[in-house]
């Protein structure tokens, strides 16, 4: 009894499934016409699984080679198949062309877009249909694809029906068009080309060292020397080369983003590719370009400036560097498999642990864990070096300001990056072994990641800007032939920024679900950042007062830095005001702001550093005319990119969007001029990108035939100008180590105001000891 019931139930279910299978395709295709997108891959498989040669398709009226913009009358017809005179329906078709315009001539045909037509319900009763094709004006070859089905007229699409497909190429006078390239392939190709160019440059560098010994026997030890060196100067150069290389890669990513955004609704990059491009752009620029550039100069200059033979832990230093290229490989792995990380550099949870995120995210996270290790080791190394290896006579308050800035930056990094590391490891475990740190259904908290990330992320942006402060302090003082105004307040301001950095990160989360009282507190603390930053800017301006400003390329970049960084600082004051932040958050106003401080601040600062210290590092002077040309072109085009973005953000352009929407009759969004400005920005971006090659060319040309640099070409005071250019190894004569004298000798050992006040409170037991 029960068994019979089961069988009959199964029979009913099977019957239902069979009916559903017969009915459902019919609903999709007949009689309303066929869509090319649906059939281009599998054909008309709702009629039969495979095309059938019994159906003969012809396409009449097309020329061998078309004349541009001419109109042709085309007839699609077929014979054969189950279709027969007297049937209720005879057949249907879909015609698609890769170019030109196809228009129906009568009611049997309907348009499916500018270059696609299909039959209408009335058209089902015919075996031939007529259309008009207006040839395109580009003169390239055009492909036609026609699908035709011959039906038995029972009103249902089924395997009894037959279909066939015909493809036809109509030649254009200009031959085949260019094939559309996959943006990932474009990017991967550009990265490989950049890598080859770098390798060629390195080989050429080796060739120039000794043209007579250009063979493997000499190259192998030379390469081994570079790859295994623990010398701070060599590692500094490696960092520097890596930083410049990835500045170029990040630039290429930015250019592809700008091509996509040049016009609204562009389809140069698909949305998932766009997402991974901006993710990689951010990650590359911050971790693989800015940080290595800074570390390059820090490695080179900090030991020289404090008169130390090397960093305290040279092998650890080599490890810090060599983690970086391998981390970069991991971060970029996704690009070469077509699945680059697509989470934004912030990698917000829970998206980062969902299935929707690209598989490349796992490698991207793994790469960043290595960068965390690298940065931690660097932090330990520099702090130790500065603490114990300063030359005789150099107290904390006699360290050059660039060294101070590296100290503050590394202290911040050292204290903040563990939080990021913890978050990354949690995400990594979530993605690989299915732990549930960010699985919401298992009680994970999406805000945990935001807190961990921004606790690191905000100090991180100061980590990349504070060393630029150090550079500008050195460059402006030397160029103005003055000692820096308010050395002590400069140090306290940097330290102040370092402290405030840790209590402001909540301003990235004003629109999150974070507690309003916490948001309110961070609004107050964020405003405070303006105070130490203001002190620095005014001190720099006052340094120029009464000076004698010598205009060199590095001076120009330093003055340019003052302009752009101040603008970035001012626009930054709009965000802590929560009422305005709820509008400006995640818009192009934010993009404009942080590019003003990160490009106009960090990058301009380090361009200045390149022109300032390049003679010291290579022993060759850079060409001043090329340098000035670089400054003028880059400064103007840079402002052309980022200045209009402020307005775009205010009127409603959101960041991390692969397209934008111009106001239509129905809904207001961006005004029409927004499209013009985006095109302007894209053009400026390309000009800025290429203008930086002037600097690269300048460096390469000068390396070969630049003027020989003296030990102190600009008249600076710190120890790096004491050794020859380039410095020998060891940098200083250790039988006669450098000793810092102090022009303030008469007051150097006197207590400061605070000390005097303390002294008044104290009753010294032994007067002799206190006076020392």
């Amino acid at each position: 009894m029960g068994r019979n019931m089961t069988i009959s139930r199964s029979m009913v279910a099977l019957l239902l499934i069979s009916i559903a299978m017969v009915v459902s395709p019919a609903v999709n295709s007949l009689p309303t016409g066929v869509n090319y997108d649906q059939i281009s891959a599998g054909g008309c498989n709702c009629h039969a699984a495979a095309p059938n040669a019994a159906v003969m398709v012809t396409l009449d009226g097309l020329p061998e080679e078309y004349n541009m913009s001419e109109t042709y009358q085309v007839t699609i017809s077929f014979t054969g198949g189950p279709s027969a005179e007297g049937n209720a329906n005879l057949g249907g078709f879909n015609l698609w062309a890769s170019g030109g315009e196809i228009t129906p001539l009568d009611a049997t045909v309907q348009s499916n877009g500018p270059s696609e037509v299909t039959h209408t319900e009335a058209g089902n009763d015919y075996t031939s249909w007529s259309i008009e094709w207006i040839a395109p004006s580009h003169g390239r070859d055009v492909d036609f694809v026609v699908h035709v089905n011959s039906v038995n007229g029972d009103g249902n699409a089924g395997p009894e029906d037959q279909w066939n497909k015909l493809t036809l190429k109509v030649a254009g006078s200009l031959g085949p068009g260019l094939e559309e390239a996959d943006p990932y392939k474009v990017l991967a190709t550009l990265i490989i080309i950049s890598g080859i160019l770098l390798a060629v440059t390195v080989l050429y560098g080796f060739y120039r060292t000794n043209p007579d010994a250009f063979d493997w026997e000499h190259l192998a030890p030379w390469l081994t020397e570079w790859l295994t060196s623990t010398d701070h100067k060599k590692i500094g150069t490696l960092y520097f080369v890596q930083g410049l290389f990835f500045l170029g890669i990040g630039g290429i990513l930015a250019m592809m983003i700008r091509i996509q955004l040049a016009v609204p609704g562009n389809d140069f990059i698909s949305q998932d590719q766009y997402n991974s491009f901006f993710t990689l752009h951010g990650t590359t620029m911050i971790f693989l370009a800015a940080m290595p550039l800074i570390n390059g100069f820090a490695n080179w200059m900090v030991p020289l400036q404090i008169g130390a033979p090397d960093l305290a832990m040279p092998r650890l230093n080599a490890l810090s560097f060599w983690l970086q290229p391998f981390a970069a490989l991991l971060i970029f792995t996704g690009v070469f498999t077509g699945e680059g990380a697509d989470t934004g550099w912030t990698g917000y949870a829970p998206y980062i642990v969902t299935e929707g995120a690209h598989t490349g995210v796992t490698m991207w996270v793994a790469g960043q864990i290595m960068l965390v290790a690298s940065s931690t080791l660097t932090g330990i190394n520099f702090l130790t070096t500065m603490a114990v290896m300063r030359a005789e006579g150099m107290g904390w308050m006699q360290m050059p300001l660039f060294t101070w800035s590296i100290l503050v930056a590394n202290l911040m990094l050292f204290l903040s990056i563990p939080a990021f590391g913890v978050g990354l490891i949690q995400v990594y475990l979530d993605r690989t072994i299915s732990t549930a740190f960010y699985d919401i259904s298992a009680g994970g908290d999406p805000l945990l990641w935001s807190h961990l990330f921004w606790y690191f992320g905000h100090p991180e942006v100061y980590v990349v800007i504070v060393p630029a402060f150090g550079v500008i302090s050195e460059v402006l003082a030397t160029s103005a032939r003055r000692s820096i105004f308010g050395y002590r307040s400069m140090v306290y301001a940097m330290a102040g920024i370092g402290v405030v950095a840790f209590i402001v990160y909540g301003h990235h989360m004003f629109t999150s679900g974070m507690s309003p009282s916490l948001r309110f507190v961070t609004m107050l603390t964020t405003m405070l950042v303006a105070v130490p930053t203001g002190i620095k800017i005014f001190n720099w301006l006052k340094t120029m007062h009464g000076g004698s400003l010598v205009y060199r390329t590095h001076t120009l970049w330093a003055l340019g830095f003052l302009v752009t960084f101040t603008l970035g600082g001012i626009s930054g004051m709009f965000f802590p005001s929560i009422a305005m932040d709820t509008h400006l958050h995640e818009t192009y106003f934010v993009v404009a702001h942080f590019h003003y401080v990160l490009v106009g601040g960090t990058v301009f600062g380090f361009f200045s550093a390149i022109y300032y210290w390049y003679p010291k590092m290579t022993g060759r002077m850079l060409d001043e005319r090329l340098g000035t040309l670089h400054f003028l072109t880059a400064f103007v085009t840079y402002n052309g990119i980022f200045w209009p973005m402020h307005r775009l953000g205010v009127v409603g352009m959101a960041r991390r969007h692969h397209t934008y929407f111009i106001t239509t009759d129905d809904f207001t969004n961006l005004p029409e001029w927004a499209a013009d400005w985006n095109l302007f920005i894209s053009v400026s971006a390309f000009l800025f990108f290429f203008s930086n090659f002037i600097m690269v060319a300048n460096m390469l040309i000068s390396l070969v035939r630049g003027e020989k640099a003296p030990a102190d070409p600009w008249g600076g005071w710190s120890f790096e100008w004491m050794t020859s250019s380039p410095p020998p190894t060891p940098s200083f004569d250790w039988h006669n180590p450098p000793v810092l004298k102090d022009a303030n000798e008469h007051i150097a050992h006197e207590p400061g105001r605070l000390g005097q006040w303390f002294n008044r409170l104290m009753v010294p037991e032994d007067h002799e000891e206190v006076s020392h």
Partner: protein
């Protein structure tokens, strides 16, 4: 130049004025010094006798340094003070705050939203009572739930924007709405562009945002917390009718 709504406009304008003043002061100073203190051709005086290996003479002035510590500090204290005002509106309590309590529909209570220029520092929105709606987000579509509100007050459906079907929310001008929001998958954030507000929508949590529909307008609602492939297409049409 105005931003979006009266709540932000006065703040924006005041910030803009202070920005211009600070920029004029700083750039004026920079411009003057860049030219006035440049070295003449061939002349290269070592003003402070910089010498390699010698820490240069101190060049400072405590009074000046204190001046440009205290002046910016006073400015930011002032800017923070004026930024307080709109917070009462943005984070108003749903129980008897700026917008009263939820409207009592049995007594035909109406919301009567208006902007009071005289309230507080920069003016504030006031309402008699407010309506409640629900917003649910998932990749990559918004859904609006008007609950039991009449179609005149709130209606959700679909419309076409930029050639694609998008969700549509229709509200009535002159009403305050409190939206309770949650997400089914990842973090999203609706940006009511013409109203200048956004708030994150998080899975497993409920966040709220005040929608103060004052003027008659049609605008796009965009997603402003990155949520995956079709993030840019995750939009909705918002119509505020009279």
């Amino acid at each position: 130049m105005s931003l979006i709504t009266p709540l932000y406009d006065s703040l924006w304008n005041e910030y803009l004025v202070w920005s211009l003043l600070v920029a004029l002061f700083t750039f004026g100073w920079l411009y003057h010094h860049s030219f006035f203190y440049r070295s003449e051709d061939g002349e290269n005086p070592n003003v402070d006798d910089l010498e390699v290996g010698v820490f240069p003479v101190h060049y400072d002035d405590l009074k000046l340094e204190l001046a440009w510590t205290i002046a910016p500090f006073m400015l930011i204290v002032y800017l923070t003070y004026i930024s307080w005002a709109p917070l009462d509106n943005i984070w108003s309590s749903p129980n008897g705050g700026s917008f009263g309590d939820e409207c009592d529909y049995f007594n035909n209570e109406s919301s009567d939203l208006y902007f009071d220029d005289d309230d507080g520092l920069k003016g504030a929105y006031k309402a008699n009572c407010y309506h409640t709606i629900e917003i649910t987000a998932k990749q990559w579509v918004w859904s609006f739930d008007c609950g039991t509100l009449e179609a005149e007050l709130c209606e959700s459906g679909f419309t076409e924007a930029d050639g694609r079907a998008v969700p549509h929310l229709s509200l009535q001008a002159g009403n305050a709405y409190l939206a309770y929001m949650t997400s089914e998958d990842v973090t999203h954030a609706p940006w009511f562009v013409s109203l200048g507000v956004k708030e994150d929508v998080l899975p497993g949590q409920t966040t709220t945002v005040w929608i103060l529909a004052e003027d008659v307008e049609d605008f796009l609602l965009l997603c402003t917390e990155y949520c995956g492939d079709d993030h840019a297409y995750m939009m909705a049409g918002v119509t505020i009718h009279s």
